[in-house]
């Protein structure tokens, strides 16, 4: 069972704001989903030594500089920018 408080705590971590209406529905949905996820707790798996899915190791880059992007390109999609910086504007 998932509580309102837990949903609010999780939402805060995930940077989602949840309205009072949404909270009721979300708590119900999440309880269902968590209940479903709980089915794995019926088993106690052996500690399978699962690392990465394709068992690769030591995939490295050489320390060689390549040209960076033009800052105009870097900033191209920014909702707000100023003097080459990304900007979060002050709002009233």
């Amino acid at each position: 069972m998932v509580t309102h408080e837990e949903i609010l705590k999780i939402a805060k971590l995930a940077k989602l704001s949840v309205s009072a209406d949404e909270l009721v529905q979300l708590t119900k949905d999440m309880s269902e989903i968590i209940g479903f996820a709980d089915t794995i707790n019926a088993v106690s798996p052996e500690n399978s030594d699962f690392d990465n899915i394709n068992h690769l190791s030591n995939v490295f880059r050489d320390d060689v500089v390549a040209p960076s992007f033009d800052s105009g390109e870097i900033l191209k999609n920014a909702p707000e920018q100023e003097d080459g910086y990304f900007l979060v504007k002050k709002r009233a």
Binding site: L16, V18, F50, I53, N77, R91
Partner: protein, 488 residues
Amino acid sequence: MKEYGKIKKLSGLLSSRQMSCEELTRMYLDAMESENETLNAYVSYTADLALETARRVDAKAAKGEALLPLEGIPMTLKDNISTKGMETTCCSKILKGYVPIYDATVWQILQKQNAVLLGKTNMDEFAMGSSSETSCFGGALNPHDISRVAGGSSGGVASAVGGNLAVYGLGSDTGGSIRQPASFCGLVGLKPTYGAVSRYGLIAYASSFDQIGPIASSVEDAALVYDAISVYDEKDSTSRGKTEPASAALQNDIRGMKIGVAKEYFEGIRGDVNDALQQVIRVYESLGAEIVRFGMPSLKYSLPVYYILACAEASSNLGRYDGIRYGFQAEHYSDPNDMVCRTRSEGFGDEVKRRILLGTYVLSAGYYDAYYKKAQNLRGEIVNAFQGAFEQCDVMLAPTVPMTAFPRNFTAKDPVETYQTDICTVPVNIAGLPAVSVPCGFDEAGLPIGMQLIGARFCEAKILNAAYQYEAATRETTFRAAETGVRL
């Protein structure tokens, strides 16, 4: 033997100059103009680029130069594959207006082949869903019956290819998102081995599950596209590339091939789907394959394991949409933190938020061991179970979806019921295996049924050959409802 593939046929027409690439491209663009409004397969058109590429191909053909396998073939990309200079939205409000400044590796490869990109296709928001109805553009419809969904999350690709608005398309498959819509739309959909195709430029949903692959109208076409895109990429640390080309392996005899059938895949599937699969088994027996039956008990944990791990990764992958560097930004806010919260709350749809919350929950202090860690251990067990299975057989056969395409706006009683439809597709993503969905009949309403052939890691050639042999043996009956000629 009959040729079912479109790609080779079209390529032949282009290189013999029986048809110009520009003509072919215009046919598709015209069809999109008139039919996309109904199907809602495409969310953006790239007509100028398509025609420009087509003219380049024609110039090459005019000089008598040989064409590459995918050269001049009109195609589409799911809208989560980054295309430089072309809007890439994941069908989410939060990415509306986002124009990548770099190309996904698969798109780079295809550009080198002069693939003719017609436009970007619809999908569930951030690839989370199985109907493509969580798209901020509305769902893509099933060309077999427009009262039904095309499936998801790569529903737009399936709708476009099924409706002959593209010859093939690239989708992505995290828990079945290529195979399920392929199955719903009577198409061939290949989910390659994890690592076979570069993920660089694919907007991540769940990084250890995501894999790009083709949706096409024949096994041969799927194989040709797979061969082109399964190339090692130094930009993706998890990339390995293919071990052998698949299209060259399509004529191999399958007599003596051992086809594994795990009973867990058949539990709870709809009767007509089961009947279709039993018929498939008989076809394979008639082709000289041997059916091996066994059980894989750990498969029953696939769904919760998948949802826990995929959502955990998603919650992290989707943290970056904060309204600062790209995409949507909330208009009203009090301070930077409030801006981020409002941007995310207004920008993400409900299903995406649910999955972010689930993922955050299972990773958070106090729950990590009970959910994330345990699911990770079970993932290891499922990997081992498949390894054991492939000691007994060459390929495995299973249904792709326990049912056929559901009606539009189908509302499940809760999110979990919707998740259940992924039960047959998620195991291979958990284990990183290749699987191809192939049409294998129709239900009473005339909707396609799909089967999947699953292989051991990097055994794409094997499963595609098995699929090809089935297709060759049954094409006349299986395809009665879907005439798959070229647009001529």
